[in-house]
Symmetry: C2
Subunit: 349 residues, 2 copies
Amino acid sequence: MSDLKVPVTVLGGGSFGTTLANLLAGNDVPTRLWLRDEEQAASMRAKGENARYLPGVRLDPRLVITSDAEVALKDAQLVFLAIPSGAFRSVLQQLAPLLSGKGLISTTKGIEQPGFLMMSQIVEQEVPGAPVAVLSGPNLAREMAAGALTATVIASDDPQLNARVQAVLGCPSLRVYASADRYGVELGGALKNVYAIISGMAAAMGVGENTRSMLITRALAEMTRFAVHMGANPMTFLGLAGVGDLIVTCTSSMSRNYQVGYALGQGHSLEESVARLGQVAEGVNTLRVLRQKSEEEGVYMPLVAGLHAIIFEQQPLQEVIGRLMSAEQKHDVEFSAFMPRRATDKEQQ
Amino acid sequence: MSDLKVPVTVLGGGSFGTTLANLLAGNDVPTRLWLRDEEQAASMRAKGENARYLPGVRLDPRLVITSDAEVALKDAQLVFLAIPSGAFRSVLQQLAPLLSGKGLISTTKGIEQPGFLMMSQIVEQEVPGAPVAVLSGPNLAREMAAGALTATVIASDDPQLNARVQAVLGCPSLRVYASADRYGVELGGALKNVYAIISGMAAAMGVGENTRSMLITRALAEMTRFAVHMGANPMTFLGLAGVGDLIVTCTSSMSRNYQVGYALGQGHSLEESVARLGQVAEGVNTLRVLRQKSEEEGVYMPLVAGLHAIIFEQQPLQEVIGRLMSAEQKHDVEFSAFMPRRATDKEQQ
């Protein structure tokens, strides 16, 4: 496998980018971490720590940290993109000449409007012809950095690119699973943020295990329904990038989306909730985009519609919940029809 | 719908049977609850409460509680079976003449050996020709009894039976979803108990969100793989009776299975763990049965094999975990091949 340990660059020095770069360097992969801000890069080099986004984690001394994009990218064969969604396209535009022909792996979740574009679709537009993949899963950066047993998914049309990412990133604490459903994996990562808001709201209302599980399961059914309509493989949602990521996102009280939901569940308005948090949660933007797209496409998404009604149409929480409980259609997994069924024992008799 | 509110009988006065009977009576469905023990029946009638299994919950005065099977069953058109798995077949044998021709709905989870039989398959053997269904989902009895918003699945080959159960049982706090995959729904209910042991074990070891989510997701993949091999529909496992029930079972610290796992994770032997608990957890029996069946059928179940090695083969916990992390195959949802994929936008271009 050692000949697969090609030079790698990580773009973006947030908590996830730093964690990835540190894991790669720890695997003895020649790794460069690029940050736009030279002051922060210098501080990380001096301290051996990302004091701002990953305090307390020692950076591997083999990791090269630079704000010089040419230095960062000149030898790289694989480039992980860990840039916030708001800056994603502009950074790619700026670096496109340096990225051409390299394997590009997006780790960023978000949907660009207009166009309903995933980040990897932006990569295809800005760096035409490059092999593209996405990395997604139940991956809290802080836990990965601390060496907790973690699993993630690398998804690409290009099985060779998947294999190369598995070779450089896999280690005893990180399992890297391969998938061919790039679109489904990426959509799962973006959509889950909406359901984290709903989970936070439910927690504020003091719901029990039955209700929490019902919400997560219906959320999974709903996001799968939408994704299948858009061309994804429903099986992706049984995996780490679907249900796995949804469980972490919906049960971890640390995420901004969950916290906005919690404030909403306490009866605050969106403005008040956002004010308490100090920033807009990604899921609020995704909700707006998803509501519009699901209406255009005619996909039934009662949880998205309900949350939209509460946040943007000033409908009372209890009324929306009552409507959800009485009006939702009564099939558990209604796209069963997509599946060829193997004969059961009974049918074989 | 009111003409669908046919007379119903519930067999078994444990927490789940009592909860079901109480919900049915509350829906104005003529409902009888049968218990074998007249003393307990008399106590419940006198107190208006099941002090032993559901203390603190007022029983609906319309509910008829009896230990006389003929009285209990003479008018019933639907019969819910909420009898422990160990007594399931013998009770059915005893009551079979009274059950003939009625719609029979099993709520009991377990696998009978020899034969690897689900409870509803025992019903088919003991009451030939009766329409059969199973009820399963993330349904903690105590929460249902308290009126918490809950969803459940009724599964049968017979859509009319499903519709009749939906009509009598559905209410503002309980959503009843229909499924045609009786075998998959029932298998999910039985298999989940094994993974609850693993979750308890992981909790005792202090794992974080990433690891917990990885375990639940791999558990889901593994139980789905087995169930699909046995003839179930994989889509069932995206629903309430699959992932929904798994989430509740693996995150609720109340279950006996979880508690046995917790003791094992603290380094106790199975004997010590069972001694602390005072009884054998269902999941321990299911583990043994499932290990044997998966070997016979050649189905890859690394979590089942690993837990079996820890409990019955005295292999050290850390060693088994190390092997799991390094040896498991590297595809996220490897039965993707079962699915017809819709063309993605990219492929359509």
